[in-house]
Amino acid sequence: MKKMLTALRRTPYQSLAVFSSLFLSLFLSLLLIFFINFLYGLLGYVESRPQVTIYFQNETTETSIMTVKNDLEKTGMVESVKYISKNDAFNIYKDLNKGNPLLLEMVSPDVLPASLEIFAKKPEYLRQIADRLDKVTGKDEVNYQKNVVDKLLSLTSIVRMMALGFFVFLMATTSIILMTITHFKVTLRKDEIELLRLMGASSGYVRKPFMQQALFLGFISSTVVYTLFATILYFLFPSVQSYLQGIEQLSVDLKVYQLIVWPITPLYAGALYIVLTLFGMGIAAFATYFAMRKYLSIQRG
C-alpha cells in the first residue's frame, strides 16, 4: 500500500489524468444506469395500471355496470375486470390526498364516478375492448392507455439504444486514454522493466504494481463518483418524490427478482455501488493489462 501510494505520488499528473478520466466516465455511466432503471421502473408502473378504464355517469346503476362487466368477461379478451364503486373511488382519493384536508373536505363519494378497470389478455385486444366500451350506455369516459405505454416504451428503447451507444463510446474513449497514460508510465519505467525482465521477473511481477495502481484508482474514482451521486440524489429526492406523487414505488422486473428502483432501497444503493466499483476497477485493470502486454513479452533476438 505504502509503495503504491509512493508510486502514485511520484507520477501525480498521470494519476490525476487517470482519476479524472475514470471519474467522468463512471459518473456519466452511473447517471445512465440510474436513468434507464428509473425509466424501466416507470414503464413497469404504467404497464401495471389498468389498460382500459371506463368511468360511468352518476345515474348509471351498479346492476348496469355489473352487466357490462359480465359481458366483457364473456368476450374472452380480458384477463380481469375490477369494479371500483363510488365508495372505493372515494377511499382511493382519500388515500392519495391524506395530507391535504382542504381537498378532502371538498369531495364526497357522490362526485366521484364508479368505474371498471380492465386488463386485456393481449395488447391487440385493447382497441376492440375500447371500441366496445365506447358504445356502452351510461358511460362517461373511456381511458385507453395503450398510447401512453407505447410512447413510454418507444422512449425507453430510444434512450436505451442511445445510452448503449454513448456508453460504448465512453468506455472506448476511457480505455484509450487509460492505455495511453499507462503506456507513458511504462515508458518512464522502461529501463526498470527491462532490468527486471533480465533478472528473471515474471510478467505478473512486473505488471503487479501497475495493476495495483489501476485498481486503486478505479476504486477511489468509483467511490468518489458514488458519494457525489448520492449527495445530488439526496438533494433532489424531495422534488422527484413530489413529481411522482401517488406512485409508491417503481421496480424493475429482473425475472428472478423484483428490484425496487424508487425510492432507493439499501439493496439497490448497494448494488449500484458494487456494480460501479467493479466496473471502475475492471476498466482500469483492463486498460492497464492491454497497455502493458507489448512490454512484457520476452523479446529475444
Partner: protein, 225 residues
C-alpha cells in the same frame, strides 16, 4: 554447468556474431572472455542469459535449453543468474538498498530475509552504511559495487559481467576483482573484459574469441588477442 555446442549466432542483416562455437564451463569455474570489440563476447553472455536465441547449435545452462520458447523456463533460469552490466543499469530513483533488493523481491523472499541478504552483500562489496544513498551520490566505482552486489545476492549461481571494470581506475578495478575472488568458490563467474592486467594476473581460464570463433581455450591463461 554451461554448455555451448556448435553455436552459431547471426543477426538479421547477416552479421555473424558467433561461428560454430563449442565449450563447457563447469560449476564454480572462473572464466574470462577476451577478444577485440565485436568478437562475440557480449553475444555469449546474452545467449547464457537467454536474451538471444542461437541461430544453430545448442546452449544449455543449468540443464535448461535456452532455445526453449517457454518464458517460465527462461525466467527461472534468469533468477539463477546475476548480471553486471557495462553501463551498471542502476535505477536512479531507487536508493542502494532498493537497487540491490530488486532481485530478492523478484524471488519473493520475506522482507526480513531481504534485509539480511542486502546487509551481507553490502559488507561483501564494502558499501556498509551507504544503503540509503541514491545513485547520484555515489562514485563510478561505488555504482559498480552496487551492480555487483545486486548480481550476487539471492542465491545466484552464475555471475555474468560485461566489462565490469571498463570505466574504472586501476585501484578500483582491483578492488572490484577482489570482490569476484571472494565468491569464486561457490559461483560460476564469467567476465568479458579488455583488461590485460587482471586477466594476466589472476591466472584463470581464458576463452579467446576472434571474429566470432573460439580461437583459444586456456585453463590458466593470460590475455591474448
Amino acid at each position: 554447468m554451461i554448455q555451448f555446442e556448435n553455436v552459431t549466432k547471426s543477426y538479421p542483416l547477416g552479421t555473424i556474431a558467433l561461428d560454430d562455437v563449442s565449450f563447457a564451463i563447469e560449476p564454480n569455474e572462473f572464466t574470462f572472455l577476451v577478444g577485440t570489440s565485436g568478437a562475440g563476447k557480449t553475444t555469449i553472455l546474452n545467449l547464457i542469459l537467454g536474451d538471444l536465441y542461437p541461430s544453430s547449435g545448442t546452449v544449455i545452462v543449468n540443464d535448461i535449453d535456452i532455445s526453449s520458447k517457454k518464458s517460465k523456463k527462461i525466467e527461472e533460469l534468469r533468477r539463477r543468474i546475476g548480471v553486471v552490466f557495462q553501463d551498471f543499469k542502476i535505477l536512479q530513483d531507487k536508493d542502494v538498498f532498493e537497487n540491490i533488493a530488486l532481485g530478492l523481491h523478484i524471488q519473493e523472499l520475506p522482507i526480513k530475509k531481504i534485509k539480511e541478504e542486502v546487509r551481507e552483500v553490502l559488507s561483501l562489496v564494502g558499501l556498509e552504511g551507504r544503503e540509503y544513498y541514491f545513485p547520484v551520490q555515489l562514485s563510478a566505482g561505488e555504482l559498480q559495487r552496487v551492480a555487483i552486489a545486486r548480481a550476487m545476492c539471492g542465491d545466484r549461481q552464475i555471475i555474468l559481467a560485461d566489462e565490469p571494470t571498463g570505466n574504472l581506475d586501476p585501484k578500483t578495478t582491483w578492488d572490484i576483482m577482489k570482490i569476484f575472488k571472494k565468491v569464486e568458490d561457490h559461483k560460476t563467474i564469467i567476465i568479458a573484459t579488455h583488461n590485460t592486467d587482471i586477466v594476466n594476473s589472476m591466472k584463470k581460464r581464458v576463452l579467446v574469441l576472434k571474429k566470432g570463433r573460439l580461437a583459444k581455450d586456456m585453463k590458466k591463461g593470460g590475455y591474448e588477442l
